[in-house]
Protein backbone atom coordinates (compact mmCIF):
# COMPACT_ATOMS: atom_id res chain seq x y z
CA UNK A 1 0.00 0.00 0.00
CA UNK A 2 1.17 3.46 -0.79
CA UNK A 3 1.53 5.80 2.08
CA UNK A 4 0.34 9.28 1.38
CA UNK A 5 2.01 11.91 3.44
CA UNK A 6 -0.34 14.35 5.10
CA UNK A 7 -0.61 17.65 3.31
CA UNK A 8 1.14 20.39 5.22
CA UNK A 9 -1.30 22.99 6.47
CA UNK A 10 -1.80 25.91 4.14
CA UNK A 11 -1.28 29.32 5.67
CA UNK A 12 -4.76 30.16 4.44
CA UNK A 13 -6.52 27.32 6.23
CA UNK A 14 -8.46 28.96 8.98
CA UNK A 15 -8.47 27.67 12.49
CA UNK A 16 -11.70 27.35 14.40
CA UNK A 17 -13.12 30.77 15.08
CA UNK A 18 -12.23 32.03 18.50
CA UNK A 19 -15.54 32.50 20.26
CA UNK A 20 -14.11 33.48 23.61
CA UNK A 21 -14.98 36.99 24.68
CA UNK A 22 -11.33 37.95 24.84
CA UNK A 23 -9.91 41.37 24.17
CA UNK A 24 -10.93 43.06 20.96
CA UNK A 25 -8.26 44.00 18.45
CA UNK A 26 -8.72 47.68 17.68
CA UNK A 27 -5.96 48.35 15.14
CA UNK A 28 -7.40 47.91 11.68
CA UNK A 29 -6.21 46.36 8.48
CA UNK A 30 -6.51 48.95 5.73
CA UNK A 31 -6.73 47.86 2.11
CA UNK A 32 -6.96 50.37 -0.74
CA UNK A 33 -7.30 49.15 -4.30
CA UNK A 34 -7.06 51.85 -6.95
CA UNK A 35 -8.02 51.09 -10.52
CA UNK A 36 -7.16 54.57 -11.78
CA UNK A 37 -5.60 57.71 -10.28
CA UNK A 38 -8.83 59.67 -10.62
CA UNK A 39 -12.39 58.94 -11.70
CA UNK A 40 -11.75 60.98 -14.83
CA UNK A 41 -8.96 58.63 -15.82
CA UNK A 42 -11.22 55.61 -16.00
CA UNK A 43 -11.71 54.16 -19.40
CA UNK A 44 -15.25 55.26 -20.19
CA UNK A 45 -16.39 52.38 -22.32
CA UNK A 46 -18.22 50.51 -19.65
CA UNK A 47 -21.93 50.30 -19.25
CA UNK A 48 -23.19 52.56 -16.52
CA UNK A 49 -25.98 50.73 -14.74
CA UNK A 50 -26.91 53.71 -12.62
CA UNK A 51 -26.90 53.73 -8.86
CA UNK A 52 -27.33 50.38 -7.17
CA UNK A 53 -28.24 52.19 -4.00
CA UNK A 54 -30.87 54.61 -5.19
CA UNK A 55 -33.29 51.75 -5.72
CA UNK A 56 -32.23 50.00 -2.57
CA UNK A 57 -33.35 52.17 0.30
CA UNK A 58 -33.91 49.34 2.71
CA UNK A 59 -35.11 49.76 6.25
CA UNK A 60 -33.50 46.77 7.78
CA UNK A 61 -32.67 47.90 11.26
CA UNK A 62 -36.09 47.17 12.62
CA UNK A 63 -36.79 50.66 13.89
CA UNK A 64 -38.00 52.17 10.68
CA UNK A 65 -34.79 54.15 10.37
CA UNK A 66 -33.55 54.11 6.83
CA UNK A 67 -30.16 52.49 6.58
CA UNK A 68 -29.42 54.08 3.24
CA UNK A 69 -29.65 57.75 2.52
CA UNK A 70 -28.27 60.18 0.02
CA UNK A 71 -25.83 62.86 1.12
CA UNK A 72 -27.64 66.18 1.15
CA UNK A 73 -30.55 64.53 -0.55
CA UNK A 74 -29.12 64.28 -4.01
CA UNK A 75 -27.54 61.58 -6.06
CA UNK A 76 -28.02 63.42 -9.31
CA UNK A 77 -25.16 65.82 -8.76
CA UNK A 78 -22.44 63.22 -8.79
CA UNK A 79 -19.25 64.48 -10.32
CA UNK A 80 -17.40 61.31 -11.14
CA UNK A 81 -15.68 60.72 -14.47
CA UNK A 82 -17.66 61.06 -17.65
CA UNK A 83 -18.28 58.16 -19.94
CA UNK A 84 -18.14 58.29 -23.71
CA UNK A 85 -21.84 59.09 -23.88
CA UNK A 86 -21.38 62.13 -21.66
CA UNK A 87 -22.95 60.58 -18.60
CA UNK A 88 -21.17 60.47 -15.26
CA UNK A 89 -19.14 57.31 -15.14
CA UNK A 90 -19.93 55.56 -11.89
CA UNK A 91 -17.45 52.72 -12.22
CA UNK A 92 -17.40 50.61 -9.08
CA UNK A 93 -20.40 52.44 -7.70
CA UNK A 94 -22.55 50.48 -10.11
CA UNK A 95 -21.81 47.31 -8.20
CA UNK A 96 -24.94 46.26 -6.31
CA UNK A 97 -24.85 46.32 -2.56
CA UNK A 98 -25.60 42.60 -2.45
CA UNK A 99 -22.37 41.89 -4.34
CA UNK A 100 -20.31 43.87 -1.84
CA UNK A 101 -22.12 42.06 0.96
CA UNK A 102 -21.07 38.75 -0.50
CA UNK A 103 -17.44 39.94 -0.51
CA UNK A 104 -17.85 41.17 3.06
CA UNK A 105 -19.10 37.75 4.12
CA UNK A 106 -15.65 36.42 3.21
CA UNK A 107 -14.08 39.17 5.30
CA UNK A 108 -16.46 38.45 8.20
CA UNK A 109 -18.22 41.81 8.25
CA UNK A 110 -21.84 42.84 7.88
CA UNK A 111 -23.25 46.11 6.57
CA UNK A 112 -24.91 48.24 9.24
CA UNK A 113 -25.81 51.19 7.04
CA UNK A 114 -24.93 53.00 3.84
CA UNK A 115 -24.47 56.62 2.85
CA UNK A 116 -24.61 57.54 -0.79
CA UNK A 117 -22.44 60.61 -1.32
CA UNK A 118 -21.79 62.66 -4.40
CA UNK A 119 -18.37 61.18 -5.01
CA UNK A 120 -18.40 57.89 -3.14
CA UNK A 121 -20.52 55.44 -1.20
CA UNK A 122 -19.83 54.70 2.45
CA UNK A 123 -20.69 51.41 4.11
CA UNK A 124 -20.55 51.28 7.89
CA UNK A 125 -19.75 47.73 8.95
CA UNK A 126 -20.11 45.55 11.99
CA UNK A 127 -17.11 44.03 13.79
Amino acid sequence: AQTIAPTPPSPLILSEPDTSPGPFEGPEKLLEVWFAPTPDALVGDHVDHGSPLSSHHATANGNGVSNCHSANGSSARRRAGVSSNGQPFQGLRTVPRAVWEEMLDIVKCKVLSVIEGDDLDSYLLSE
Partner: protein
Protein backbone atom coordinates in the same frame (compact mmCIF):
# COMPACT_ATOMS: atom_id res chain seq x y z
CA UNK B 1 -15.13 48.64 10.17
CA UNK B 2 -15.80 50.53 6.96
CA UNK B 3 -16.02 50.12 3.21
CA UNK B 4 -15.78 53.07 0.83
CA UNK B 5 -16.53 52.73 -2.84
CA UNK B 6 -15.67 55.44 -5.35
CA UNK B 7 -15.83 54.97 -9.12
CA UNK B 8 -12.14 54.09 -9.24
CA UNK B 9 -11.23 52.99 -5.70
CA UNK B 10 -12.29 50.48 -3.06
CA UNK B 11 -11.18 51.13 0.51
CA UNK B 12 -11.76 48.41 3.10
CA UNK B 13 -10.81 49.06 6.70
CA UNK B 14 -11.57 46.30 9.17
CA UNK B 15 -10.67 45.62 12.77
CA UNK B 16 -10.91 42.69 15.18
CA UNK B 17 -10.17 39.28 13.68
CA UNK B 18 -11.67 40.06 10.30
CA UNK B 19 -10.13 38.50 7.20
CA UNK B 20 -9.54 41.68 5.27
CA UNK B 21 -7.11 40.33 2.68
CA UNK B 22 -9.33 37.38 1.84
CA UNK B 23 -11.71 39.92 0.29
CA UNK B 24 -9.06 41.15 -2.16
CA UNK B 25 -9.47 38.51 -4.84
CA UNK B 26 -13.23 38.96 -4.79
CA UNK B 27 -12.82 42.74 -5.10
CA UNK B 28 -10.66 42.23 -8.17
CA UNK B 29 -13.20 39.81 -9.64
CA UNK B 30 -16.02 42.25 -8.99
CA UNK B 31 -14.09 45.13 -10.57
CA UNK B 32 -13.43 43.05 -13.65
CA UNK B 33 -16.91 41.63 -13.90
CA UNK B 34 -18.86 44.85 -13.37
CA UNK B 35 -16.46 47.47 -14.71
CA UNK B 36 -14.06 45.63 -16.98
CA UNK B 37 -11.05 46.70 -14.92
CA UNK B 38 -8.23 44.35 -15.82
CA UNK B 39 -5.39 46.09 -14.04
CA UNK B 40 -4.74 47.70 -10.69
CA UNK B 41 -3.28 51.19 -10.69
CA UNK B 42 -2.13 51.07 -7.06
CA UNK B 43 -2.71 48.91 -4.06
CA UNK B 44 -1.95 49.87 -0.48
CA UNK B 45 -2.26 47.57 2.49
CA UNK B 46 -1.28 48.88 5.88
CA UNK B 47 -1.82 48.30 9.56
CA UNK B 48 -0.40 49.13 12.92
CA UNK B 49 1.17 46.26 14.83
CA UNK B 50 -1.56 44.19 16.47
CA UNK B 51 -2.14 44.17 20.21
CA UNK B 52 -3.07 40.47 20.08
CA UNK B 53 -1.48 38.91 17.00
CA UNK B 54 -2.12 35.40 18.30
CA UNK B 55 -5.86 35.93 17.82
CA UNK B 56 -5.59 36.72 14.11
CA UNK B 57 -6.64 34.27 11.42
CA UNK B 58 -5.54 33.30 7.93
CA UNK B 59 -2.85 35.48 6.36
CA UNK B 60 -3.18 38.02 9.16
CA UNK B 61 -1.43 35.80 11.66
CA UNK B 62 1.90 37.21 10.58
CA UNK B 63 3.18 40.12 8.50
CA UNK B 64 5.27 37.83 6.32
CA UNK B 65 2.15 35.80 5.53
CA UNK B 66 0.28 38.96 4.59
CA UNK B 67 3.13 40.01 2.29
CA UNK B 68 3.24 36.54 0.77
CA UNK B 69 -0.48 36.69 0.12
CA UNK B 70 -0.19 40.09 -1.59
CA UNK B 71 2.85 39.02 -3.60
CA UNK B 72 0.85 36.05 -4.88
CA UNK B 73 -1.90 38.38 -6.04
CA UNK B 74 0.33 41.05 -7.58
CA UNK B 75 3.11 38.88 -8.89
CA UNK B 76 5.82 40.36 -6.70
CA UNK B 77 5.11 43.82 -8.06
CA UNK B 78 4.83 45.31 -4.58
CA UNK B 79 7.17 46.29 -1.79
CA UNK B 80 6.69 45.73 1.95
CA UNK B 81 7.93 48.10 4.64
CA UNK B 82 8.14 48.10 8.41
CA UNK B 83 8.02 51.71 9.49
CA UNK B 84 8.89 52.98 12.96
CA UNK B 85 10.35 51.35 16.06
CA UNK B 86 9.65 47.62 16.01
CA UNK B 87 9.46 47.42 19.81
CA UNK B 88 6.75 50.06 20.19
CA UNK B 89 4.34 51.39 17.58
CA UNK B 90 5.59 50.10 14.31
CA UNK B 91 3.46 50.36 11.25
CA UNK B 92 3.41 48.02 8.29
CA UNK B 93 2.88 48.93 4.68
CA UNK B 94 2.62 47.06 1.41
CA UNK B 95 2.47 49.18 -1.73
CA UNK B 96 2.49 48.17 -5.35
CA UNK B 97 4.95 49.88 -7.64
CA UNK B 98 4.64 52.83 -9.93
CA UNK B 99 3.42 50.80 -12.87
CA UNK B 100 -0.10 49.45 -13.09
CA UNK B 101 -0.32 45.74 -12.43
CA UNK B 102 -2.10 43.60 -14.96
CA UNK B 103 -3.93 40.98 -12.99
CA UNK B 104 -4.95 38.40 -15.53
CA UNK B 105 -4.69 38.31 -19.31
CA UNK B 106 -7.54 40.31 -20.69
CA UNK B 107 -9.89 38.62 -23.11
CA UNK B 108 -9.77 39.54 -26.77
CA UNK B 109 -12.89 41.62 -26.43
CA UNK B 110 -11.36 43.77 -23.74
CA UNK B 111 -7.71 44.62 -24.32
CA UNK B 112 -5.60 45.46 -21.33
CA UNK B 113 -6.13 49.11 -20.52
CA UNK B 114 -3.46 50.81 -18.49
CA UNK B 115 -4.63 53.94 -16.71
CA UNK B 116 -2.87 57.15 -17.68
CA UNK B 117 -0.47 58.90 -15.31
CA UNK B 118 -1.95 60.88 -12.48
CA UNK B 119 -3.03 64.33 -13.58
CA UNK B 120 -5.74 65.11 -11.09
CA UNK B 121 -5.65 66.94 -7.78
CA UNK B 122 -3.29 65.52 -5.16
CA UNK B 123 -4.59 62.64 -3.14
CA UNK B 124 -3.98 63.09 0.57
CA UNK B 125 -4.83 60.62 3.31
CA UNK B 126 -4.30 61.41 6.98
CA UNK B 127 -4.51 58.64 9.54
CA UNK B 128 -4.25 59.13 13.31
CA UNK B 129 -3.92 55.89 15.29
CA UNK B 130 -4.39 56.49 19.00
CA UNK B 131 -3.93 54.14 21.95
CA UNK B 132 -3.90 54.21 25.76
CA UNK B 133 -6.88 56.55 25.94
CA UNK B 134 -7.32 58.39 29.22
CA UNK B 135 -10.35 57.31 31.29
CA UNK B 136 -12.04 60.59 30.40
CA UNK B 137 -11.35 60.04 26.72
CA UNK B 138 -12.70 56.50 26.78
CA UNK B 139 -15.79 57.12 28.95
CA UNK B 140 -18.15 58.50 26.27
CA UNK B 141 -17.84 55.27 24.30
CA UNK B 142 -19.37 53.09 27.01
CA UNK B 143 -23.11 52.76 27.43
CA UNK B 144 -23.99 54.80 30.51
CA UNK B 145 -24.75 52.82 33.64
CA UNK B 146 -28.43 53.08 34.45
CA UNK B 147 -29.82 53.17 37.97
CA UNK B 148 -31.10 49.84 39.29
CA UNK B 149 -34.63 49.16 38.15
CA UNK B 150 -34.38 51.43 35.15
CA UNK B 151 -35.60 50.16 31.80
CA UNK B 152 -32.81 48.96 29.52
CA UNK B 153 -31.19 51.24 26.99
CA UNK B 154 -33.78 51.96 24.34
CA UNK B 155 -31.72 53.85 21.80
CA UNK B 156 -30.73 52.03 18.64
CA UNK B 157 -27.07 51.78 17.70
CA UNK B 158 -27.49 54.58 15.18
CA UNK B 159 -29.26 56.80 17.68
CA UNK B 160 -26.57 56.16 20.25
CA UNK B 161 -23.89 56.91 17.68
CA UNK B 162 -25.59 60.15 16.72
CA UNK B 163 -25.73 61.23 20.37
CA UNK B 164 -22.03 60.41 20.90
CA UNK B 165 -21.11 62.29 17.72
CA UNK B 166 -22.95 65.41 18.89
CA UNK B 167 -21.67 65.18 22.45
CA UNK B 168 -18.05 65.07 21.35
CA UNK B 169 -18.26 67.43 18.40
CA UNK B 170 -17.47 64.75 15.86
CA UNK B 171 -20.37 66.04 13.80
CA UNK B 172 -18.70 69.46 13.53
CA UNK B 173 -15.17 68.41 12.61
CA UNK B 174 -16.12 69.64 9.14
CA UNK B 175 -18.89 72.12 8.29
CA UNK B 176 -22.25 70.48 8.84
CA UNK B 177 -23.51 71.91 5.57
CA UNK B 178 -21.20 69.65 3.60
CA UNK B 179 -21.08 66.61 5.87
CA UNK B 180 -23.27 63.53 6.01
CA UNK B 181 -22.39 61.53 9.09
CA UNK B 182 -23.35 57.93 9.78
CA UNK B 183 -22.36 56.77 13.25
CA UNK B 184 -23.08 53.77 15.43
CA UNK B 185 -22.64 53.10 19.15
CA UNK B 186 -22.03 49.47 20.08
CA UNK B 187 -23.22 47.67 23.18
CA UNK B 188 -21.67 47.54 25.74
CA UNK B 189 -19.01 49.81 24.26
CA UNK B 190 -17.39 50.96 21.06
CA UNK B 191 -18.18 53.42 18.32
CA UNK B 192 -17.84 53.69 14.56
CA UNK B 193 -18.52 56.58 12.22
CA UNK B 194 -18.30 57.17 8.51
CA UNK B 195 -18.76 60.58 6.96
CA UNK B 196 -18.85 61.82 3.42
CA UNK B 197 -17.72 65.42 3.11
CA UNK B 198 -17.90 67.85 0.26
CA UNK B 199 -21.25 67.24 -1.25
CA UNK B 200 -22.24 70.89 -0.92
CA UNK B 201 -23.14 73.00 -3.89
CA UNK B 202 -20.14 75.25 -3.34
CA UNK B 203 -17.63 72.44 -3.59
CA UNK B 204 -15.47 71.95 -6.62
CA UNK B 205 -14.71 68.66 -8.26
CA UNK B 206 -12.16 66.74 -6.26
CA UNK B 207 -12.91 68.65 -3.07
CA UNK B 208 -14.89 65.84 -1.51
CA UNK B 209 -13.83 62.90 0.54
CA UNK B 210 -14.55 60.91 3.64
CA UNK B 211 -13.51 60.53 7.21
CA UNK B 212 -13.93 57.48 9.36
CA UNK B 213 -13.54 56.82 13.07
CA UNK B 214 -13.42 53.58 15.04
CA UNK B 215 -13.10 53.31 18.79
CA UNK B 216 -12.45 50.37 21.12
CA UNK B 217 -12.40 52.02 24.55
CA UNK B 218 -11.79 49.13 26.93
CA UNK B 219 -9.04 49.67 29.45
CA UNK B 220 -5.96 47.65 28.62
CA UNK B 221 -6.41 47.77 24.85
CA UNK B 222 -8.10 51.10 24.30
CA UNK B 223 -7.72 52.34 20.77
CA UNK B 224 -9.18 54.93 18.43
CA UNK B 225 -8.48 55.61 14.79
CA UNK B 226 -9.28 58.58 12.59
CA UNK B 227 -8.74 58.55 8.85
CA UNK B 228 -9.53 61.34 6.42
CA UNK B 229 -8.90 62.06 2.75
CA UNK B 230 -10.76 65.36 2.55
CA UNK B 231 -8.58 68.08 1.00
CA UNK B 232 -7.65 70.53 3.74
CA UNK B 233 -6.74 74.22 3.51
CA UNK B 234 -3.15 75.17 4.19
CA UNK B 235 -4.05 77.84 6.74
CA UNK B 236 -6.38 78.09 9.70
CA UNK B 237 -9.65 80.02 9.50
CA UNK B 238 -10.13 79.23 5.85
CA UNK B 239 -13.33 80.68 4.37
CA UNK B 240 -14.43 77.16 3.44
CA UNK B 241 -14.91 76.42 7.12
CA UNK B 242 -12.72 73.35 6.87
CA UNK B 243 -9.94 73.02 9.43
CA UNK B 244 -6.33 73.11 8.39
CA UNK B 245 -4.40 69.94 9.13
CA UNK B 246 -2.79 70.89 12.46
CA UNK B 247 -6.14 72.13 13.78
CA UNK B 248 -7.90 68.97 12.69
CA UNK B 249 -5.27 66.73 14.29
CA UNK B 250 -5.45 68.66 17.57
CA UNK B 251 -9.26 68.50 17.62
CA UNK B 252 -9.26 64.77 17.04
CA UNK B 253 -6.63 64.17 19.72
CA UNK B 254 -8.56 66.37 22.14
CA UNK B 255 -11.65 64.20 21.64
CA UNK B 256 -10.02 60.82 22.23
CA UNK B 257 -7.28 61.88 24.65
CA UNK B 258 -4.73 59.19 23.81
CA UNK B 259 -1.45 58.84 25.63
CA UNK B 260 0.24 57.56 22.50
CA UNK B 261 -0.48 58.21 18.88
CA UNK B 262 0.89 57.56 15.44
CA UNK B 263 0.23 59.85 12.50
CA UNK B 264 0.64 58.72 8.93
CA UNK B 265 0.16 61.08 6.03
CA UNK B 266 0.20 60.00 2.40
CA UNK B 267 0.35 62.75 -0.19
CA UNK B 268 0.51 62.14 -3.91
CA UNK B 269 3.24 64.16 -5.59
CA UNK B 270 2.39 63.81 -9.27
CA UNK B 271 4.85 63.79 -12.10
CA UNK B 272 4.91 67.50 -12.74
CA UNK B 273 5.11 68.76 -9.16
CA UNK B 274 7.08 66.38 -6.95
CA UNK B 275 7.37 69.06 -4.28
CA UNK B 276 3.62 69.46 -3.92
CA UNK B 277 3.57 67.28 -0.83
CA UNK B 278 6.16 69.30 1.05
CA UNK B 279 3.81 71.76 2.78
CA UNK B 280 1.53 68.98 3.99
CA UNK B 281 4.31 66.83 5.42
CA UNK B 282 5.97 69.81 7.10
CA UNK B 283 2.97 70.74 9.21
CA UNK B 284 3.39 67.77 11.53
CA UNK B 285 6.23 69.25 13.52
CA UNK B 286 7.55 68.52 16.99
CA UNK B 287 5.52 71.47 18.34
CA UNK B 288 2.22 70.27 16.91
CA UNK B 289 0.68 69.80 20.35
CA UNK B 290 2.25 72.82 22.05
CA UNK B 291 4.30 70.74 24.43
CA UNK B 292 1.57 68.36 25.55
CA UNK B 293 3.19 65.51 23.60
CA UNK B 294 6.75 64.54 22.83
CA UNK B 295 7.48 63.51 19.30
CA UNK B 296 9.35 60.24 19.39
CA UNK B 297 9.84 59.50 15.72
CA UNK B 298 9.47 61.23 12.40
CA UNK B 299 10.19 59.31 9.22
CA UNK B 300 9.61 60.38 5.64
CA UNK B 301 9.49 58.03 2.71
CA UNK B 302 9.54 59.25 -0.87
CA UNK B 303 7.81 56.67 -2.98
CA UNK B 304 7.30 57.09 -6.67
CA UNK B 305 4.22 59.27 -6.86
CA UNK B 306 3.66 59.49 -3.10
CA UNK B 307 5.33 60.93 -0.04
CA UNK B 308 4.68 59.27 3.29
CA UNK B 309 5.17 60.93 6.63
CA UNK B 310 5.15 58.77 9.75
CA UNK B 311 5.34 60.32 13.22
CA UNK B 312 4.86 58.97 16.76
CA UNK B 313 3.96 61.07 19.79
CA UNK B 314 3.71 60.30 23.50
CA UNK B 315 1.95 62.42 26.09
CA UNK B 316 4.39 64.18 28.44
Amino acid sequence: SSLFVAPHVVILKTCGTTLNLLGLNRILEIAREYCGFSSVYRCFYSRKSFFFPERQQGPHRDWTEEVKFLDNVFGNAGSAYTVGPINRDNWLLYITGANPVALVPAGPERPLALPPPCTGPPDQTLEILMSHLTPAGAAPFFLPELPAGSPPESRSGHELGTDISAQLGIDTLFPKSETTLDSFGFEPCGYSANAVVGSGLNCNKGDGGYFTIHVTPEDGWSYASFECNVPLPLRANDPSGRPDMPSLIRRVVDIFQPNRLTITLFVSTGEDSPAAAAPATKVIGADLFDGAFTRKDRIIYEFEGYDLLFACFERR
